[in-house]
Symmetry: D2
Subunit: 406 residues, 4 copies
Amino acid sequence: MKKYNKVVLAYSGGLDTSIIIPWLKENYGCEVIAVVGNVGQKDELEGLEKKAINTGASKIYIEDLTKEFVYDYIFPTIKANAVYEGKYLLGTSFARPIIGKRMVEIALKEGADAICHGCTGKGNDQVRFELAIKAYAPDMPIIAPWRIWDIKSREEEIQYAMDKNIPIKLTPETNYSKDKNLWHLSHEGLDLENPNNEPNYEKILELSKTVEKAPDKPTYITISFEKGIPVALNGKKMNGVDIILALNKIGGENAIGICDMVENRLVGMKSRGVYETPGGSILYYAHKDLESICLDKETMHYKEMVSLKFADIVYNGQWYTPLREALSAFIDKTQETVTGDVNLKLYKGNIISAGISSPYSLYSEEYATFNEDEVYNQNDSAGFINLFGLPITVKAKMEQALKEKK
Amino acid sequence: MKKYNKVVLAYSGGLDTSIIIPWLKENYGCEVIAVVGNVGQKDELEGLEKKAINTGASKIYIEDLTKEFVYDYIFPTIKANAVYEGKYLLGTSFARPIIGKRMVEIALKEGADAICHGCTGKGNDQVRFELAIKAYAPDMPIIAPWRIWDIKSREEEIQYAMDKNIPIKLTPETNYSKDKNLWHLSHEGLDLENPNNEPNYEKILELSKTVEKAPDKPTYITISFEKGIPVALNGKKMNGVDIILALNKIGGENAIGICDMVENRLVGMKSRGVYETPGGSILYYAHKDLESICLDKETMHYKEMVSLKFADIVYNGQWYTPLREALSAFIDKTQETVTGDVNLKLYKGNIISAGISSPYSLYSEEYATFNEDEVYNQNDSAGFINLFGLPITVKAKMEQALKEKK
Amino acid sequence: MKKYNKVVLAYSGGLDTSIIIPWLKENYGCEVIAVVGNVGQKDELEGLEKKAINTGASKIYIEDLTKEFVYDYIFPTIKANAVYEGKYLLGTSFARPIIGKRMVEIALKEGADAICHGCTGKGNDQVRFELAIKAYAPDMPIIAPWRIWDIKSREEEIQYAMDKNIPIKLTPETNYSKDKNLWHLSHEGLDLENPNNEPNYEKILELSKTVEKAPDKPTYITISFEKGIPVALNGKKMNGVDIILALNKIGGENAIGICDMVENRLVGMKSRGVYETPGGSILYYAHKDLESICLDKETMHYKEMVSLKFADIVYNGQWYTPLREALSAFIDKTQETVTGDVNLKLYKGNIISAGISSPYSLYSEEYATFNEDEVYNQNDSAGFINLFGLPITVKAKMEQALKEKK
Amino acid sequence: MKKYNKVVLAYSGGLDTSIIIPWLKENYGCEVIAVVGNVGQKDELEGLEKKAINTGASKIYIEDLTKEFVYDYIFPTIKANAVYEGKYLLGTSFARPIIGKRMVEIALKEGADAICHGCTGKGNDQVRFELAIKAYAPDMPIIAPWRIWDIKSREEEIQYAMDKNIPIKLTPETNYSKDKNLWHLSHEGLDLENPNNEPNYEKILELSKTVEKAPDKPTYITISFEKGIPVALNGKKMNGVDIILALNKIGGENAIGICDMVENRLVGMKSRGVYETPGGSILYYAHKDLESICLDKETMHYKEMVSLKFADIVYNGQWYTPLREALSAFIDKTQETVTGDVNLKLYKGNIISAGISSPYSLYSEEYATFNEDEVYNQNDSAGFINLFGLPITVKAKMEQALKEKK
């Protein structure tokens, strides 16, 4: 095996990255610097410093990325209405590029000669991390232990940890595979691995109540947007991080944003997961509702197609690519008038529109009503239909003429 | 004004088409044949024969189109997952072409020299009707009274009806503008014309309970599909019409499929409506859930884009066009393996996945799990990422080289 | 007929707009101000002032729009690689919005109460002019004589001109319907109206030699681009207008950019035209060649799809729309590295690549060659193929298992 | 290394596959069966049997795939108008799947336990071959020597051949890397590896004359299509293979279909090649010309987008996938009326339209002309424009109102 002097490790404090520290030292003879990107995973951050050092890291960086995460990754994706395969709000997907980029910055500053991550060889996250690293340090060696070591299962991991005296906390409750941040919490594994099993939400959910246990009274909220970005909640100006935190609480209480899906991973297989995205689901809904009055039809319809591509790109970890940047330029242009207020009623899993307004509204009561108005001349539609339908007429007449010939 | 001998009228028995009968006779000196397409509007069909004759029609056709409607229009659209602007399930849109086509058949059989409809000049339905007529009788004159007569409001209509002794039934409850069929019920007008007004669902809903009044216990159902088409409910083989009727009942009871939206009409303005599509919403959800295990990723992703176009085409009334037919050929091909069972939990407005299975499932627990398996070699992903990411690496190295030059 | 005081007329000095002046005065009792947008139609501009006044206009504006035309309309379209239906380089299409916008500016300055154009009711140009007017003066009345007057043919036009003593010059050579500007010259009508007739290029072509008469020696040129825009020809910095003029000359000499096509008009019918776009064809080719080394694959492929939409929008006259602006934002972002030199060989109708270079080139001889290199590990492709092909493997194994069951 | 009993090898008789035979025997101790797919490479097929046996193969299959190649691979791609990156007509791309599939059939019949190909690890062909194999034998081991052996260059190959007494023919003229079949001939390598080098066509071209040496007299041809497929040349019914052969001759004589491009390989890097596709270029052009009168606008425009995807899929070797099949279903539906005759003039590299006709033509001289006709009421366009432009009007009025407020 190649030797390294200093390796920067994407560290979470979980079982995987805990045993990677001694494994790296043993196999590469290197110093290990742990890096934690704080993207809002909260309680998972507690005690990480002590833990990393105890496990053998020479140093730990705990980087607060929450604000950058919200403004530079989450909001551009909301503006795009990007949803992967109709359901997934990309919570893990866009967290990887921001962490990967910071890893590179630290690795360069520290003069590290490799970067390591603890992602499995069957998942998307390895791709997302590594594409970010390639974008900012194309020559940096990457170590992905799961793809090369002999450990093949959770049981062997635990054994390795015990052999190396790594303190690990294993509780039966926490054994779904999870990913948590400011935006969402995902659950994979165990009984969920059979798509024919109904999820046991009572057991699974952490951010949200079940729909059954959500309150019997609706909660009304108002979200204000400026140029596609949420800027106030219930009339109170707040920064983006706080809006999401507040909506997570309100949304979770009302059982909003629980999603169960089988998705297509980038690496070729299908997987099944349950996602909790309470605040995110509300923001997406509100944003689209506002767009329904602020965007003209052609822009909105084309943007629906762009959304699909944007979601693929984010899911695939291609954040730092010319195409993502060009699509964002498109999207930002469309958002210039997406400013206004959206009222929503939240009730037992439902997000219900309760009124939209905007100074840039393209909705006009005068035109919409079936009564006469001053702008719209109903007789214009006769001409419109004749021309819009001309290709149909021409084709029908061609077919008639053909029939008559026979 | 041109004279006609015999005019076939798309008749509903409502105020609009009721006054059109005497208006046609008066203005064109013609006989009027009323045609009703039964697409499941039910109670609205009662007493139509008598009413039409009393109002001056010489004859009435009440055509049962329900089965054709379901199999030739609704199911192809479900297979396409076509949703207009993210919300509207196209209930009115695909009802117009089928009626328009039957109108032409009757007009040709009867030797009529014009076809008339009562659609407003500001709406989509005029386009949908007329495109259908152009497709099957490109030379047939079309009379659209709302675009040419002097009547400019509901009040003037009522006055005209009274002048002509047309018996009309006006009740304050029914004055939203509605369209009802087997698939859905739409509501427009009045307070809904301001998108900032929250809908008064207690007052509006007819097919569905409000979310608040839906039962506190969930309802579990199983829908079985064959090649993308629903064929059984809860294990019982049923024809498509009965499945929709049954799901409307179950869905309505559980407050499923209520949608409030501002949409872009084809004729250029935005309008706001509330839609009830209880059974339809369940079928769409179930169908997509099943596709998530039966379709491979590339097919599914491309089909997401095709869905957008299909929705536009249906919304625009372009059913009888080469493009719609070609898109249907694409879609039908993708549906060959969309066969299996979908379990759903319905609860107070929520449709919740509760297990999916298919003999053609492409989901494999073996690959999905993070443990080792026999097919998937985790180390393959290193190569995959290097090549998938090669354009990123190349670009980053080009930028590095440029920087070094400076 | 409504009366107007002052009407601004899009004036060309041709037969149509010449008789419109007296017709407007006669029918609306108005003063007529002629406006000519100079977009490079050259000799067609000669003597226009005198002609307009003699024909009855009170005033004429001849506006030099060439530079704005090139930088704000032509270059954004080149950057988009927008081609309508695979052949048409949009020469007339983007000339209409710029003229329409200037018409509005003059109309507002002059306090005119209507704008008039001489476009036929069967063509695209009426749409393009009027959409531009609506964008900048949504309430301005528009007069389109061809849609309302009694004149129904060229013969009746000539008669009207003679009745009104309008001096007209009719020569048999000029009786194709033409549109000329800096970018192109189009030909429609006469024998071209049957798509089965081969064009008589000897008779038709004005900007270009026929392929047969083009010189027997090739011409080599080098075009330099910065951020997608041509900035130099054969190493000499030139402004955009001069580059196009020079390339028109060189291209015309070498029979470049002659195109014969049947196209779909926006107003629903097909039409047939011959286009000469010598310089434009060269610029498009060169720009795409340069992009082939400067854009990464995903950006280029997505941009191919955007090109199609951009072409539709330009063709349809929807230049001043949010979607066109948002697409331009996308495109501009992609052009940031489209800088470099393209060598071309022009020979008897052929544009032949003769070498491309760019400081931002993503082409790497090292990777491309089949020999070993330091970055690309050939064994990576085994992993790549296994994962890229995993959906195929999974499907094949599912089918195998199904077969075995039976 | 794993041992195999019998390996089926994709054999061409070139240097690569010649040395692979002894290499396989040496390294796997296996019998080697050579398989040649005859897809029209002609003279390259001569003497292959003797050569393969002499080199150590136990058996050789020379499979005539030409007819299947034309009807099941080439024609579906012509119908799609699929062009990769605007230039490449996919000649190598669709030849790989057909050969790969036959390899599997022979391997299964022969009871072989592995399949081997001689493609480089940096190219597309390895992917195309292997995806075909996975589709029909998902468990079949694949041996790709270039990705695993120690031979790293042409020089080492030659040395290996001499060591093993493999008779090889090396001539300086043939040292571009080439791929030849019925459809095309490609050239890569040497001086072409620098995109700034102009190709030396005198030296490179084999199927075609240079544009300079093509005859000074044009050649006129007529191609007849039925449902998108060429069925006759100059009025003579011919099968597809013969049409392509004849057009290759005519096209090559007239220097048609020479293309020089930098393309994006699937495996992530750019490469540069020169392609000769004389007959293919003519067929593509003719097919699109015919579509211009047979397809309605919406179908044609949507199909332009589908073409891009179809090209990607073919290029990527994803022929045997549900998405390719579904796209073909779409395309076939559009081709039902693509029947008619196309006249072309071929002259020194130019394909020039010389008349199109079809019994299903949607072109109507009556509508296209600017004179009055019976179907098209010019005044209809006023209504059309008002509604088509309504979103522009609405937006302009909203902006006006906003301005007035300020």
